[in-house]
């Protein structure tokens, strides 16, 4: 039965249902239960944002708190995956990947290739991405491009509750290492989600809005901004096609190219910093594969080349806005 729940609840439900279905699915992270060894309540936190609350009560030793030690526990999760477990490890903020990146990009990502095909590393690393809560420079980045660059990793970035649940279930059932990016500003976003378990395949972008004039391609929290921009532009008689990439690696370029071949105009919106980002990647691929269809230059709307500022006025300027997207679309029409 479909009902309205939040992005955070959808993720919790995906974990809950998969842990029930398969005992090899183990969940771990800092404060994932919260309170281990402490004198007060069990399940005190359920993760820093409460996403994993309630799982301990239902699943006991299938979920574990980890020490503040990403290299060790992310590496352990990876090692356990290589031995046939199906761990879902949380790297609390994607910004922390610096302390454990080797385990992710040199170990997990490369086992299958280096070991001539014999290894399988079915690990999911859940991590919070993005800005919008004044968490400042070291807790607000959108580091998705660093992961998409690495062969052997898959990168998933849902924009709504329905996608979050289906893509997380798919990620857990997938046999490759998956970086599952949860946008921290979307946790309370509500949407219709079925109670039953379901999957969404990777490399399938979602066309949220049909339009013949311009293609807006984006992911994560920027999807909402793109829809807002499209609504503004519709009043001016400009019909935008809005495409939510959903998975960044593998990426559904077929849908993007098909759209650009129809509209002839592309605006890519990316919350990551502008150098070597998803925006540059998509733009380059479109320029290469659909050059003849383009009627105007490709426009990219991204964060600036700065760290994420703390104060609200600056953070709001940092995060790409619907207005900036509207301006970019208008540029392609001049």
């Amino acid at each position: 039965m479909a009902r309205t729940i939040s992005y955070k609840e959808a993720i919790n439900e995906a974990l809950d249902q998969e842990m029930t279905r398969d005992k090899l699915v183990i969940v771990m992270g800092e404060d994932s239960i919260g309170g281990t060894g402490s004198p007060g309540e069990d399940d005190a936190w359920g993760g820093p944002m409460g996403v994993t609350k309630g799982l301990y009560g239902k699943h006991g030793n299938q979920i574990m708190d980890t020490p503040l030690s990403e290299s060790a526990y992310i590496g352990a999760a990876i090692g356990a995956a290589a031995c046939g477990m199906r761990p879902v490890a949380e790297m609390m903020f994607v910004d922390f990947m610096g302390v454990c990146f080797d385990q992710i990009y040199n170990q997990a990502a490369k086992f299958k290739y280096m070991f001539g095909g014999k290894a399988e590393t079915p690990i999911v690393i859940r991590t919070m991405v993005g800005a919008g809560i004044n968490a400042a420079a070291q807790h607000s980045q959108m580091l998705t491009p660093l992961f998409t660059h690495i062969p052997g990793l898959k990168v998933v970035c849902p924009s709504n509750p329905y996608d979050a649940k289906g893509l997380l279930i798919q990620s857990i059932r997938d046999n490759d290492p998956v970086i599952f990016c949860e946008h921290k500003s979307l946790y309370d976003l509500e949407g219709e989600v079925s109670e039953e378990s379901y999957v969404i395949p990777f490399a399938e972008a979602s066309v949220l809005r049909d339009g013949d004039d311009v293609s807006i391609v984006t992911y994560g929290m920027m999807v909402g901004k793109a829809i807002a921009a499209a609504t503004i532009l519709a009043k001016e008689g400009v019909e935008c096609e809005v495409i939510d990439l959903r998975t960044l690696s593998p990426i559904d370029m077929e849908t993007v190219i098909e759209s650009v071949e129809n509209t002839g105009r592309l605006v890519v919106v990316d919350e990551a910093n502008p150098r070597c980002s998803i925006a540059t990647d998509v733009s380059a691929q479109v320029a290469q594969q659909a050059f003849k269809s383009l009627k105007a230059q490709i426009e990219m709307v991204t964060a600036p080349h700065t760290p994420v500022p703390f104060t609200t006025t600056l953070e709001n300027l940092y995060i790409p806005s619907a207005e900036q997207i509207v301006v970019a679309v208008r540029k392609t029409l001049n």
Partner: protein, 371 residues
Amino acid sequence: MKQNLIPILMPKWGLTMKEGQVTEWLVKEGSNISMGDEIIEVETDKIAGVVEAVDVGMLRRCIAETGKTYPVKSLLGVLADSSVLDSEIETFIEAYEIPDSEEEADESAQKYLFTEVDGLRARYADRGSGDSIVLLLHGFGGDLDNWLFNLDALADNHRVLALDLPGHGESGKTIPEPSISGLAKFVGKFLEAVGVPSAHIVGHSMGGAIAMQMVTEHPESVDSLGLICSSGLGPEINCDYLQGFVDAQSRRELKPVLQQLFTDESLVNRQLVDDVLKYKRLDGVDDVLRTLSAMLLSDTHTILSDKVIASGKPTLVIWGEQDRIIPVAHARNISASGGPSVEVEIFDSAGHMVQMEKANDVNRRLLNFLG
């Protein structure tokens, strides 16, 4: 004189529709409208459809604007005799209020209901009231929302139940006995579970075969039979469609398959395809569809019509002339051989989903048959 003023309202198609977008007025202000004329094209988040005139009169006012969205039961236009004064029409329009949300709340509380049959969750809708009960059974890969254009119209005069078969809609996603007989048993137990001893059973496609099976196994539970583009009346079935439906993994693959269901392929919009894909991706559905399609494809020679005709049960067969899934010839054959208990009606410019494409015609014909 209000009796001469007929409001044209935004209809409610299905249980979840809250609003619709007016996409085109098909007639101009000042035209004379006859019963059944198509007046306005409306699009909802589920499907596109046409509002038909349910009365005669002159279209005095087009209130709804193209491209705008209006809640269900909004006033979209006014039909009136030419003698009615403009001022009276203005008064009527100003005075018009969308019916109470209290009533709406009641309705939405009854939207979808759940019960358990043989340990399996069964979702159903229950509209209208009365002693005459109609049970609607959808076909392969469908769900009770396939009847979204028919539920309320039939519920005016009858109590209408619409069921999600096992493996479909929001019923449990396993089929204990994947055969027409097994499904007929399930439906029979469902009727018991909701305390209904017998009903007029209207089945679409595979639903029709299930209804016929019920006539042969438990004729006392079937008051009359409605067979809409039904399987089980002849051996031919579009195998490519079945296989395509089962195998399609993406929007691109599924869209052309679904388009075969309609004469007007533009009805297969993005939302419809996405909804079917979401259903196909639920755990358990792939197994169900594969099992059922294998059963349907291997079972093509089980013709149920003879037994039905022999039973003498009053039967109405409805078909779309352009049905690309099960040939309309099956309707013509039973028309020829059916005898006095069987009526047949074939609608032109309609395909396999005739109950959607010619909803008003089908509703009228069914109401007429049901009495």
